[in-house]
Symmetry: C2
Subunit: 273 residues, 2 copies
């Protein structure tokens, strides 16, 4: 299954209602996908090892989506095979007082990955355009400016060596209700239930429109958006992993060579004869 199909390009045309959150690709069964997903996890770990050794590139994976779309689950499943020494996740919540006293990119810039590392953002600076777009508080011009800052910021990161992948987890409104109910009924998931999720659900269609704006304004070549059908967790995980792996395979990753000639080991061990 090619990932190109999920890259958001023709951004003036984008309409989320035409993209099926229930897609399952060409897999015959969930089990078939699982085998493939495990293989991709191993491949990702291999690629991370080279990335870390080479210290030339870094990778930033931005996860966005409605409440209950599976951002936490995606992070957990696709990155659990990584060496934690070269990987960080940051969850961006409602800004603290200190964060709100700075420009909205301030807290995000700090968490960008250094060379050799992979970072995931669970929510991101896109909340700072989505929320005011839905709930007000910024003028149209202010929003335009923020989008411009985002494009400039991401382009700068990309040109300075950070490959950016932006994943939108696309679920249906019905699926969201199912998941909210899971949270209410499964004691292991109670902690994830937040009554504000139900309030935000009232703004479903405004958020969908806000996301379409996001794609129009920020799906740039150097930092493309992908939409991920996310009603089925297993397909979501498979596809997100595929995109991350394919992206890393597109870089010129290779283990660095010794920059001195290979020493003669026997000489090193017994230097006195």
């Amino acid at each position: 299954m090619g990932i190109k199909r999920y890259m958001i390009k023709d951004t003036n045309e984008i309409s989320l209602s035409k993209l099926d959150p229930g897609e399952k690709g060409t897999f015959k069964s969930k089990e078939e996908a699982s085998v493939e997903t495990e293989r991709l996890k191993e491949r990702l770990a291999e690629l991370q090892d080279i990335l870390f050794a080479q210290k030339k590139h870094s990778l930033l994976v931005i996860l966005q989506g409605m409440d209950s779309s599976g951002k936490d689950g995606t992070v957990k499943h696709i990155f659990s095979g990584l060496n934690p020494q070269g990987f960080t996740v940051t969850s961006f919540k409602k800004p603290t007082l200190d964060e709100a006293a700075h420009d909205f990119l301030w807290r995000v810039h700090q968490k960008t990955p250094p060379k050799g590392y992979i970072s995931a953002f669970n929510r991101s600076h896109y909340e700072d355009v989505l929320v005011p777009r839905v709930h007000g508080g910024l003028s149209k011009e202010d929003l335009k400016r923020r989008f411009r800052y985002i494009r400039q910021f991401e382009e700068m990161l990309a040109e300075e060596g950070t490959t950016i992948v932006k994943l939108f987890l696309h679920i249906s409104k019905e699926k969201q209700m199912e998941k909210i109910q899971e949270r209410l009924h499964d004691p292991k998931k109670h902690w994830k239930f937040d009554v504000s999720d139900l309030q935000e659900r009232e703004y479903w269609s405004e958020y969908q429109k806000a996301y379409e704006d996001v794609f129009r304004e920020s799906s740039i070549e150097k930092a493309p958006w992908y939409w991920i059908p996310a009603n089925h967790r297993w397909y979501r995980n498979y596809l997100a992993l595929s995109i991350v792996v394919k992206t890393l395979e597109g870089l010129d990753l290779s283990y660095p060579k010794l920059d001195t000639p290979t020493p003669n080991i026997s000489e090193l061990i017994s230097p006195h004869h």
Copy 2:
């Protein structure tokens, strides 16, 4: 003495060799300037108090200049009257390994002032264009790109509420030698002597040209450069303070009002009758 004379505007024409580092303005004596400088320090403290109370604006003062041009001394003299709770200084040295693994604006962005605060940068992201311009390591295109990132970054900060003032401390090559010798002969100044300053001195004219590039590429309306004649410490301090004070006076600073009607104090004290 108006500060406009020192704002760098006609950037295509800028030639540092035509700007006199020995200027002393219209003062008849150092003592006359000192009186004025003290008055300005008090005024700055007043303005900082309002800035801090209002939490609407922030101020970033960027200090650049050749070795021994007086960056440390300027920070010490002009900001010593401030409330330290609302003020920070950051000295940017050679990047650490961790800093060098990120884009060059990463460490700088972290230190930008939150609303209500004044921050000073002793050296800054401008070192990341000056040093490669003089010592090589970046192509012409890479340098151009960095200048573009700087302009975009500073414009974003400015539009999001940070007023930026950039001060170039301009000394003569002879004055620099005098100051290096002071460092060698005064036991209280030994610690400031660094043999690399003598090595860098060999690149004097290349640095002057690099600074002219900086002015051409980054003297933008929202973040102007000022040149400060810095051969005379007292004039340097007076002028730098003047610029900072005038800049703050140009903002709409005012103490915030109570947002509820003034309570009747006697009622608050004895609420039960």
